[in-house]
């Protein structure tokens, strides 16, 4: 019966609020109270479950909350309690997302993901060049390619320099303070400078470079920390068992620093996404960041939310991909 009481309370509160028209002004407080009662009810329910169902139950809760959130948002927006212009209901956002995927913007010559269902027909008509045109029109591809190219161009030298700094005291003493100072500078601030440097200020050059610079400093400093943090007894063991300099690097230093290098790469990936979206706000005609900005300019909030959803999906997907690579590269970490 313990679970019944809070559920009854939730129903009673909702009815009470509807009866006296309290939703419009008090919905935040009412929702907070409903959430509290829900938590109490859920915990009471869990206690009555057999032990082996506890983990699936927790996993169900992880899904339950976002669903409740979306349902609440949908109801609040469609009944006008929150302004549907600035907070369009999820149904409208989903529709906007569908529009973005399906439609081709003739003015900008872009679409969201490049209309992949056209690939077979394009291949038939104009071969690979036709398919390339599809990639060129895709906002997601534009953002992804800039981000990944910049990420790789920045990370690889970052790992190399980071390793050198970790292993050599002199280099570290010279570079550390300077790099730490530049690291703190928001890389987006460098963007105008890069627009001066490159021949085409609105081209891909400055965008990729700013991502590369952000990634570089992050990866270099975290790699250096990783190398410095290697347990000295492992270095001594390597030396004592006859490893020469190259063997020490390959068998001891590199594998020992991989965990921290990967955590630096994860951070750099997240930062790269932030930087590229910000740059696309300011100076771009393509990309998901541009899409958010453009739909702000033409006052289409539903499409803005849809674009944000796409950015979120990109972030999640990229992190998952990196984790996959991490698990393959470090099989000893379970």
């Amino acid at each position: 019966m313990k679970a019944f009481l809070p559920i009854a309370g939730m129903v009673a509160l909702a009815l009470f609020a509807s009866l006296f028209g309290l939703w419009t002004d008090w919905w935040v407080v009412i929702f907070a109270a409903e959430f509290t009662l829900l938590v109490v009810a859920l915990e009471a329910l869990e206690r009555r479950l057999p032990f082996r169902l506890h983990t699936p139950y927790q996993r169900m809760l992880a899904w339950l909350f976002p669903l409740l959130l979306l349902a609440s948002w949908q109801w609040l927006a469609t009944s006008g309690i929150i302004n549907p212009r600035w907070f369009p209901p999820p149904s409208r956002i989903a529709e906007a997302l569908w529009q973005l995927i399906v439609n081709y913007d003739r003015f900008n010559e872009t679409s969201l993901i490049g209309r992949p269902w056209l690939i077979p027909s394009r291949l038939a008509e104009s071969g690979w060049a036709g398919v390339q045109a599809l990639f060129a029109e895709s906002h997601v591809w534009a953002t992804l390619s800039r981000m990944l190219v910049g990420f790789v161009i920045g990370s690889v030298p970052g790992i190399v320099i980071g390793m050198i700094m970790g292993l050599n005291r002199t280099v570290r003493a010279m570079l550390d303070s300077t790099m730490s100072a530049i690291y703190v500078l928001p890389k987006i601030a460098i963007f105008p400078l890069l627009m001066l440097v490159f021949a085409d200020p609105f081209g891909e050059g400055p965008k990729i470079t700013v991502v590369a610079i952000s990634a570089f400093f992050l990866v270099a400093l975290s790699t250096m920390a990783g190398v410095q943090g290697i347990d000295p007894v492992l270095i001594q063991a390597g030396k004592n068992f006859g490893a020469n300099r190259w063997q020490m690097f390959r068998h001891v230093i590199l594998p020992a620093s991989l965990p921290i290098v990967f955590s630096g790469l994860r951070l750099a990936l997240g930062t790269s996404l932030v930087v590229i979206v910000a740059v696309e706000f300011v100076r771009s005609q393509s990309g998901v960041g541009y899409l958010v900005y453009y739909n702000w300019q033409v006052l289409s909030p539903a499409k803005m939310y849809a674009a944000l959803l796409v950015i979120m999906a990109l972030g999640v997907g990229l992190t998952a991909a990196l984790q996959f690579i991490e698990r393959r590269a470090m099989p000893w970490r379970r």
Binding site: D231, V233, L234, Q236, A237, K239, N240, F241, G242, A243, N244, Q247, H251, V252, P255, A256, L258, M330, P331, W332, R333, R334
Partner: protein, 260 residues
């Protein structure tokens, strides 16, 4: 028997802000081939430092401390079994044991076979493809011991190898060490805090004074071999451990005073 480890007037100082700090002064030691010598002393007396100097991981400031090379130039002079689990977490148990051989260029099939047989000798054959994170502390130390033995060094240097283990695991491994040593009769320098362990394992126990470390005294352990844990209940064992503790007690007090 030939002298295998020679130390004469060995001296080690560490530079510091307040001048040179002596860690080891005027230390003499001689180990014969095939002898199992235990080095015992209070914390901070420099016994681990001395072992590291012999291993080539640190330099002497004066005097000499060296291992006499044998007839085979390809055999490594020494290998160390460290106190902490110094096996590589990113290599499997088998790869770890084969590490020294791999560094020396022994071909893959041969070194894996040698490593495999040593794993069997320490009772870990089943765990060959496990990673260190998947095995217990006692097993990790067995891997560390196997790695050193598989490399077949002239001298085995052990730096409190059982110090990080619980008492029961330690007892089991002490018996295993005795058994392994009976097979090979390697020259061993074994550093430990524990007098009980030193008398059980060693042919000779060398006492070091508190910081700065020098040789205080030596005790010959005439307990018959082969030994096992039952040796610890003999009268002679109690006599020896008692006599050594009497000698060491003042040094331990001095070390504790110095820390205050």
């Amino acid at each position: 028997m030939a002298e295998k480890v020679i130390a004469r007037s060995a001296r080690k100082v560490y530079p510091s802000m307040a001048g040179d700090v002596p860690a080891i002064v005027d230390f003499d030691l001689s180990i014969e081939e095939g002898e199992f010598v235990c080095l015992v002393g209070p914390s901070g007396c420099g016994k681990s430092t001395f072992l590291r100097i012999l291993a080539g991981l640190d330099d002497l400031s004066g005097g000499e401390a060296r291992i006499v090379p044998g007839t085979d130039p390809k055999r490594p002079l020494n290998n160390v079994v460290f106190q902490e689990y110094a096996i590589f977490p990113w290599k499997t148990v088998l790869e770890n044991v084969a590490f020294g051989l791999e560094m020396r260029g022994v071909p893959r099939a041969e070194r894996l076979e040698i490593a495999s047989s040593w794993l069997a000798k320490v009772g870990l054959k089943r765990f060959a493809s496990y990673y260190p994170s998947q095995i217990s502390g006692g097993m990790k130390q067995r891997v560390s011991i196997a790695r050193a033995l598989a490399n077949d060094p002239e001298v085995l240097l052990m730096d409190e190898p059982l110090g990080a283990l619980d008492a029961q695991t330690r007892a089991v491994l002490q018996e295993e060490l005795l058994r392994l040593w009976e097979e090979s009769h390697k020259t061993v320098l074994y550093v430990t805090h524990s007098i009980d362990e030193a008398v059980l394992l060693g042919d000779r126990v060398v006492l070091m004074t508190a910081h700065p470390g020098t040789k205080k005294s030596e005790f010959v352990v005439d307990l018959p071999r082969p030994r096992d844990l039952s040796t610890t209940s003999t009268a002679r064992y109690a006599e020896l451990t008692g006599a050594i503790w009497d000698d060491l007690r003042d040094e331990v007090r001095a070390a504790m005073e110095a820390q205050r």
